[in-house]
Symmetry: C2
Subunit: 438 residues, 2 copies
């Protein structure tokens, strides 16, 4: 009996989603007596923590994305399928694909992540794009660069000011990193490139509904981040809910800010695949999982990462939707599947909080590592080393480093390309999609 | 009187197109007593000789494209406008922009290049995309990568074979480089990544209507290139005109090849801006220019690069549409404009043929430098050094070199990303646009 025939009798682990959680599950099953199939509707794993750098033209898409096949090429028990899972049939133990085909499993790992949530205001989506995948990042890059180009051609000062105003909605790590990077682009990168406008006069406004930004960080660190943002020229508005987004303005409580470029970093909702399970979800659409990350009465189905809702017994708070949680859950799930293959029981998932961090522009960051709080340049160095270390493709690490070193010393950004649909139409940068507004 | 007011009385040179010809004209006017405005509908200058490497996933778009503003940032007399010129008003000396605004000039330099020509078969365009800009390259990359993905999922062997068949139409340098790079992807890059298919069984067919490929090269070099292509597994069909392109086949004289991926490298036509001049054009839509590159009776209007048609007095043949011609014409035109500002006469353009080259996959090329013919690895090294040297942004050179060195030793390609519209729809890779066929 050859190896291949032999292998077909092994338990089949189907992993839906090639993000951190899915990929680390697959890698953790290397050499184990299972067949692994990873399904993703995109061909690449994305290093999401650096996505804002693509959106702000510092890195190219290929620097932070690697084909999933390529990562798993040397793992003989893993197969990768470019496919979209549209539903799960728990009773028949099968995943339904977009072409109607079904893939049966012995173990299922769901890790399809989250999308933006506009809290019921779906009409805002085309006006204020969010940042979750490469297409989002390229669209944001396009809008930001086009805004400067349109301003350079504009003669009406009021319109020009609106074109040079950027509003970021949401003061979490993504919003803070976007606002900081936008301020740097305007103040340092663009400033020599234009003749009619003074790019450094651009206004970057970060809007947060809560009483402070970076609510998940300790208050001293968040305060420092706010100071660093202000030093870069970012206007930070706390206690300020957004009441409406129009093509030419963001309306706050009591004030309308004229702008053509609003970006959304305010909320997420779980992938719609969760709805097809018929199990209880939390308010953000995430699946309520057991301590071992399985769903109730289905020990063969795991839900991980941003798709899962689990309270951390150590803190009494829900686990955050960050890469480290997803990676640890992937490793833990691979270990549990290996255990059950060896006739042992699952162990509950225990999250080891190794810290969290956010950067503010070039050479500044905040980091919480255990009880240690780091700020400024030291925090940024730590951020840099950790992010380069975790970049999955080896070649990418070198490329990203070369670009960062180049950018650090020259303040230039290498990926300032406007691509895609008609770069110029009329005078103002227009949303690519039909405008929904009064 | 301040400098800016002073400057407004200087002659205004409007350059339409930021390719090699336009850019080198602008750079050549640095420090001269003129105001320069460069108009382009894209924000970046593209290093077209390496575009096929983006289409075949070896390089990222940002590696071969640099914002025009950024290139001209230190040239105080140059302004860059992201705008599309829709017509030229020779009588009023003005360029009409897409928003209806007019830009008046004292000197006009038209260098808007060329697009693909399907020789009257416009319905073939969505079925067999050509390679002229970054969007084209990303579309080709998407189709090629999706074809392998679709084949991995396919169970019908006939469909699978068609999915793994790639037809390149046109045996000039672009077609040869595309075919060679496709063969390398299939034989070396993809071969370990898939489980169901054997990527090295992919068929790559290069189709040329003329009696030989690389018609502009000496016969011994072209023959060597053909041998190198065959060694990589490319099927070369000469004397073979394409009679029809369908969504699932390319029809040659007397044979239909089942394929979902056809690429077009067979012909170009000049940019439609030429039509608005009301002056004589050649068969490919190019403007017939005087020896000094101006148009008849309009010594203030220059036409350069792929938009111009000029017979080389040295050879009696038309100048080829390559980067070196465009660069030399840009330099010559800047010099002529500077001459006339100094009260001197124009000089006719003299082309110095420094040679031509084409690569065939990794580590092989052919090069004609003066009378010296180079082949194989030596030619490839020369190709490598010249192309890196001419890459305009300094940072890009390092990035491209790192990627090439990495790719050379690992046979991997860093930019294998499928992005853009719905990666998967049904079983077969479908053209993104409506299919025109019986």
């Amino acid at each position: 009996m050859d190896q291949r025939t032999d292998r077909s009798s092994l338990p089949h682990v189907v992993i839906v989603g090639g993000g951190f959680a899915g990929l680390y599950t697959a890698k953790g099953l290397k050499g184990k007596p299972v067949r692994v199939t990873v399904i993703d509707r995109r061909n690449h794993h994305l290093f999401q923590p650096l996505l804002y750098q693509v959106a702000t033209a510092a890195l190219s898409p290929a620097d932070i994305a690697v084909p999933i096949r390529s990562i798993l090429r040397r793992q003989a028990n893993a197969t990768v399928l470019l496919a979209e899972a549209t539903a799960v049939d728990l009773a028949q133990r099968a995943v339904v694909l977009e072409d109607g085909n079904r893939l049966s499993y012995d173990y299922l790992v769901l890790a399809t992540g989250a999308r933006h949530s506009y809290f019921g205001h779906d009409a805002w989506e085309p006006l204020a794009p969010g940042l979750k995948n490469l297409e989002d990042a390229l669209e944001i890059r396009r809008r930001v660069l086009l805004a400067f180009e349109a301003a350079e051609r504009e003669t009406d000062p009021a319109i020009r000011n609106a074109q040079l105003t950027f509003v970021v909605v949401g003061g979490g790590p993504t919003g803070v990193e976007l606002a900081g990077a936008l301020a740097e682009i305007a103040r340092y990168t663009m400033v020599q490139d234009f003749r009619s406008i003074d790019a450094s006069q651009a206004r970057i406004i970060l809007v947060e509904a809560a009483p402070r930004i970076l609510g998940t960080f300790p208050e001293p660190l968040a305060r420092r981040a706010e100071e660093d943002l202000k030093r870069l020229g970012v206007e930070v508005r706390i206690n300020t809910p957004v009441t409406e987004i129009k093509p030419d303005a963001v309306v706050l409580s009591g004030e309308s800010i004229a702008t053509y470029t609003a970006l959304w970093a305010a909320g997420v909702t779980a992938s719609p695949l969760a709805w097809t399970l018929g199990v209880p979800l939390d308010r953000a659409g995430r699946v309520l999982v057991e301590p071992d990350l399985t769903i109730k009465d289905h020990p063969e189905v795991f839900v991980l990462g941003d798709l899962a809702s689990l309270t951390d017994p150590a803190t009494g708070r829900p686990l955050p939707g960050v890469a480290t949680v997803a990676i640890q859950q992937g490793n833990a799930t691979a270990a549990n599947i290996a255990r059950t293959c060896a006739g042992q029981f699952y162990e509950p998932f225990v999250y080891k909080d190794r810290g969290s961090m956010a950067t503010i522009g070039r050479a500044r960051a905040i980091a919480l590592l255990g009880r240690t709080q780091l700020k400024g340049f030291v925090a940024w160095l730590v951020w840099l080393i950790i992010h380069i270390y975790f970049l999955i493709g080896f070649e990418n690490r070198i490329l990203v480093m070369v670009q960062w070193i180049g950018a650090y010393f020259t303040q230039r950004r290498g990926a300032r390309l406007i691509t895609g649909e008609a770069a110029i139409k009329g005078k103002r940068p227009e949303p690519a999609v039909t405008q929904h507004s009064s």
